[in-house]
């Protein structure tokens, strides 16, 4: 991938190093941007206040200050906690995010790996965080954390299914599970012969998009599905006993996962890194110009910001569901709707 863009020969260890650094940037940079723009600024504007303004111009360095603050705090491990599991639980949650970003394409040649079953891999890997949350809830030796962890386990497993079923509609329509080819299918395609907009699956798979957005809201334990955290009842749910650097990993992990899920949503539904090929007269991926490798990530980032805006907007506006209402919503409403979506997509794909 890198060898075709740059004119130099980079040895394998150099390529791997570049991939690792690229992965860190691809996860942490959106996380930082999301935290600043949406958590500090957008939430504040929705609440008639200005948010952090002192650290840096317009408060842009607030995240740096927060990171510094969390890192210098005392690292407390409760006395009766299961120490080993307590310490690695946040890492497990963050690992699933990094594993997830590996399969997201950033440009025609800018990707980490190109799996044939990219979608399958992404959905499978996103459930590793459930383990981490359960570990955190149990190992904290705190009744509140245990309640939070158990609620999280039930909720996250319940909302995996609608997520998978919603994505199935996209896979049927694209005919492939390869993320790069899904992007190309959307941008090179046409709607009823009009190819000025490509064929973004958000229009044909509107139901699937809605189900997917609700499912990722639940997977991220954001309101209205934040029973596991439930600040006014469980003080922080499974994160209660964490302080210092470990809490920082949870915090950044939450927003990094939001960013990566939003990237996957924009790849699957909004057309990923590309603009409709018809604007430039390209017909297939080989025609795409090389500068798209630099512009593509920016386009993907802006689409990701749009999706995260919607996620955060809903988060700041709605109260939370109760656990049994949450489960009822997933099993009795979302799954039948997404199954119906798959049937309709399959029928129309064959018919049209």
């Amino acid at each position: 991938m890198i060898q075709s863009t740059l004119a130099v020969v980079v040895p394998y260890w150099g390529q791997s190093l570049l991939r690792v650094l690229g992965g860190l940037v691809a996860v942490l940079l959106p996380a930082g941007t999301i935290v600043y723009l949406f958590l500090f600024k957008m939430m504040s504007f929705m609440q008639s206040r200005l948010g952090p303004m002192e650290a840096g111009p317009y408060g842009s360095l607030q995240l740096v200050a927060e990171v510094g603050k969390w890192m210098q705090k005392e690292d407390i491990v409760p006395q009766r906690a299961d120490k080993f599991i307590f310490k690695i639980a946040p890492v497990v949650v963050l690992v699933s995010t990094f594993l997830l970003v590996v399969v997201v394409p950033f440009g025609p040649d800018a990707y980490f790996t190109d799996f044939e079953t990219g979608v399958f891999y992404a959905l499978a890997v996103s459930s590793i965080s459930v383990l981490g949350i359960l570990m955190a809830g149990w190992a904290s030796a705190n009744k509140y954390s245990l309640l939070g962890g158990l609620r999280a386990a039930g909720q996250l497993i319940a909302y995996e299914l609608p997520m998978v079923l919603a994505v199935m509609g996209v896979v049927i329509q694209a005919g492939t599970m390869n993320m790069q080819r899904i992007v190309v299918a959307q941008n090179a395609g046409s709607m009823f012969g009009f190819d000025g907009l490509g064929n973004p699956y958000v229009l044909t798979q509107l139901v699937g998009f809605a189900v997917f957005m609700i499912s990722i809201q639940a997977e991220l334990t954001q309101a209205p599905f934040d029973m596991p955290i439930a600040e006014s009842e469980l003080v922080s749910g499974y994160m209660t006993e964490y302080s210092g650097f470990r809490f920082l990993i949870f915090f950044i992990g939450e927003f990094a996962t939001a960013g990566v899920f939003a990237m996957i949503a924009s790849v699957l539904f909004l057309g990923g890194w590309g603009v409709p090929f018809a604007w430039f007269g390209w017909t297939s991926i080989n025609d795409v110009a090389d500068w798209m490798n630099l512009v593509g990530p920016l386009i993907l980032l802006s689409k990701m910001m749009l999706v995260v805006f919607i996620i955060m907007w809903v988060r700041f506006s709605y109260p939370r569901f109760r656990e049994d209402q949450l489960q009822r919503f997933a099993w009795k409403i979302l799954i039948p709707v997404s199954l119906a979506n798959i049937m309709v997509t399959a029928v129309l794909k064959v018919a049209l």
Binding site: M42, S44, F45, M46, Q47, S48, R49, L50, M53, W313, V314, F316, S317, Y318
Partner: protein, 162 residues
């Protein structure tokens, strides 16, 4: 017309608030760059007009927290007219108000018969050390400069009989 679900209308409220904050500014005051001016009657700090005080101890006695400390001694003052009697006056030695205890209730100001205590809206006198909140009569007299004029009264009020 179809009823818009409450969920969507709620989103509209937050979005509207956000746009209003972006275009018209926030409702918060950016202290310390901007400072809000408190109303005239605001109970910020108590100021002492030393010349009026006769150390009658009324304020000290009526304080619910007993946070006013007064010490005085008697002194001789010259007679008012030639050939008159020598007068004894009270001279203030110590008039301390402990602002760590003060409840800002205003009973001392109200009860003083000689108009020696006044309210002032000054509020920026916080100290890092709680013992430094015991302010003596020189500091209390300094605050007399910040005491505002009493505001005009509303329509229908009785005129003061002073």
């Amino acid at each position: 017309m179809a009823k818009i679900p409450g969920l969507v209308k709620g989103l509209g409220v937050t979005f509207g608030t956000m746009m209003r904050t972006i275009t018209k500014g926030a409702n918060t005051v950016q202290y310390p760059h901007e400072k809000e001016i408190p109303p005239i009657r605001s109970r910020g700090v108590i100021a002492l007009h030393q010349d009026n005080c006769t150390s009658c101890m009324l304020c000290s006695r009526s304080c619910p927290d007993w946070c006013i400390y007064i010490e005085a001694h008697k002194d001789l003052a010259p007679p008012r007219r030639e050939g008159g009697k020598v007068r004894t006056v009270n001279k203030l030695d110590r008039f301390d108000i402990d602002y760590a205890l003060c409840m800002y209730c205003g009973i001392c100001v109200e009860v003083c018969p000689f108009d020696a205590l006044f309210w002032s809206p000054e509020y920026e006198y916080s100290e890092p050390n709680i013992a430094d909140l015991l302010h003596d009569k020189s500091k209390l007299s300094e605050w007399m400069e910040t005491v505002p004029e009493a505001p005009a009264l509303e329509v229908g009020a009785d005129k003061k009989k002073k």
